[in-house]
């Protein structure tokens, strides 16, 4: 198995730290370390966790008026993004579905892109083919580390004084312990934190420096998933995909105001129709009322037993202290507090539509 899996520059370190390795998006990745998912999750919310997310795709898009160029593929307002500003964006198909979600940073004369591991080959092909007059430079010689949690800023500031002043969804170049890095104040946990793009040959050195701080623990993909679920962040391929529009996915905020009027991105007609006429189904938070988690693909029924939707992500929320989920329901059942039933292993279990996030997001906004 591991012969065919790719590895990140931190692979040897994962093994040394006792990482339990699993295949994920073609990579051999740690699902957890010795602490286990529960403690890793709680430690990230209470102190600080270090994640290896080097499997994600990093690239630079270069060329004339690159901000305008990328807008032909995404409904985000990229031209309105200040220098070094970061935006959560969507790659769209003509049917108004989502090819992938990705992060776009405006670097002035170019864009820095981060896409999902499972989609990266397809995304980069698509972007390069769609924008033949621009050049897409894949950053295959860079690793990506995420340092997340309420202590992240204080810790990183020890190695890069001033980095604590970087504001959420902004990027800067910093030397961290003498290693040149491209640093975003962003993440996928709902906590304050950073995503650090670092040359591959210095990634392990940086990871060891950060893990040497007593508040920092290595965190695996298991806790990464439970952390993002508790704060209501979508997992591409589960919560949104090529069949869900941004409006069905409750990502209206990712469709720029100017872009709604101007259009010029794939699926604009569908998005506008969904905005003006409403949608028949919608992504919502779902709280199972018992102790049993309701996992992805659990059917959702109304109180009369009619199927009204399906869970797309579900599990146990360690900080929430109970099961949490999200999924799609028919719009008439999407109001917070609506009582529903969840069909778990053939049995009916009560649940209710819940407000997202389940746990408050805590970002540094200056």
């Amino acid at each position: 198995m591991s012969d065919t899996l790719k590895t990140t520059p931190l692979h040897a370190l994962h093994l040394e730290l006792g990482g339990k390795m699993v295949p994920f998006a073609g990579y051999d990745m740690p699902v957890q370390y010795k602490l286990g998912i529960m403690k890793e999750h709680l430690h990230t919310r209470e102190a600080c966790g270090l994640f290896d997310v080097s499997h994600m795709g990093q690239a630079l898009l270069k060329g004339d008026d690159v901000q305008t160029a990328i807008e032909s593929l995404t409904p985000s307002d990229i031209k309105g993004l200040p220098n070094n500003g970061i935006r959560y964006s969507l790659l769209m198909n003509e049917e108004g579905g989502i090819r992938d979600d990705f992060m776009v940073t405006n670097r002035g004369d170019h864009l820095y892109l981060v896409v999902n591991a499972a989609c990266k080959d397809a995304d980069f092909d698509y972007i390069a083919t769609s924008l033949p007059d621009h050049s897409l430079e894949l950053l295959e010689d860079r690793a990506l580390l995420a340092l997340q949690g309420p202590k992240a800023a204080e810790i990183l500031n020890r190695f890069a004084p001033g980095i604590d002043q970087l504001i959420f969804m902004n990027m800067g170049e910093f030397d961290i312990a003498g290693i040149p890095c491209l640093v975003s104040r962003s993440g996928y946990t709902g906590e304050d934190g950073y995503e650090i793009s670092v040359p591959s040959d210095r990634a392990e050195e940086l990871a060891r420096k950060l893990l040497g701080e007593e508040e920092v623990e290595a965190i695996g993909l298991g806790a990464r998933d439970s952390l993002r679920l508790e704060v209501g962040l979508c997992l591409y391929g589960s919560d949104i995909d090529t069949t869900t529009s941004p409006i069905e996915g409750a990502l209206n905020w990712a469709v720029g105001k100017r872009r709604r009027e101007e259009g010029g991105f794939p699926g604009h007609d569908v998005v506008m129709k969904h905005l003006s006429e409403g949608v028949s189904r919608k992504r919502v938070g779902i709280k199972p009322l018992g102790r049993a988690p309701a996992r992805a693909h659990t059917e959702i029924a109304d109180k009369d037993g009619n199927i009204i939707g399906e869970i797309t992500s579900g599990g146990f929320g360690p900080s929430f202290g109970g099961p949490v989920a999200m999924g799609y329901v028919k719009t008439e059942f999407s109001k917070v507090g609506t009582e529903i039933n969840l069909i778990v292993r053939g049995k009916t279990m009560p649940g209710e539509i819940a407000k997202l996030p389940f746990v408050p997001q805590r970002y540094y906004k200056g």
């Binding site: 699902v31 957890q32 286990g36 998912i37 529960m38 403690k39 999750h41 298991g222 998933d225 439970s226 102790r291 049993a292 988690p293 996992r295 599990g315 146990f316 360690p318 099961p323 292993r345």
Partner: protein, 124 residues
Amino acid sequence: MSVKYTEDHEWVLVEGDIATVGITDYAQNAMGDIVFAETPEAGTEVSKGDDCAVVESVKTASDIYAPISGEITEGNQALDDQPELVNASPEGDGWFFKMTIADASELDDLMDGAAYKKFCEGLD
């Protein structure tokens, strides 16, 4: 009294004509933090191999199978509120259910402690 083991990492403690069933330390360790356990109701008839209980970690749900045929006499209700007992004491307070032994010869198909230990070593 003797303890037998299955390839699904369950233990079966036989005391007289009642068997107590749970998951092994190896199994709880592999699953990680247990957040939910569902045990069968007394009176349920089960055949060897039937799924009759559920254990869930943060990440996954797993079925627990009847290691032998018989009738459930008791589910461990302590697990309803304290599923973490399965991690803390998998082969003690974290037991799942007790059952009658319909056919004692089915016990012969299970492994003894030494064989199970060897079985686990072969998995690592």
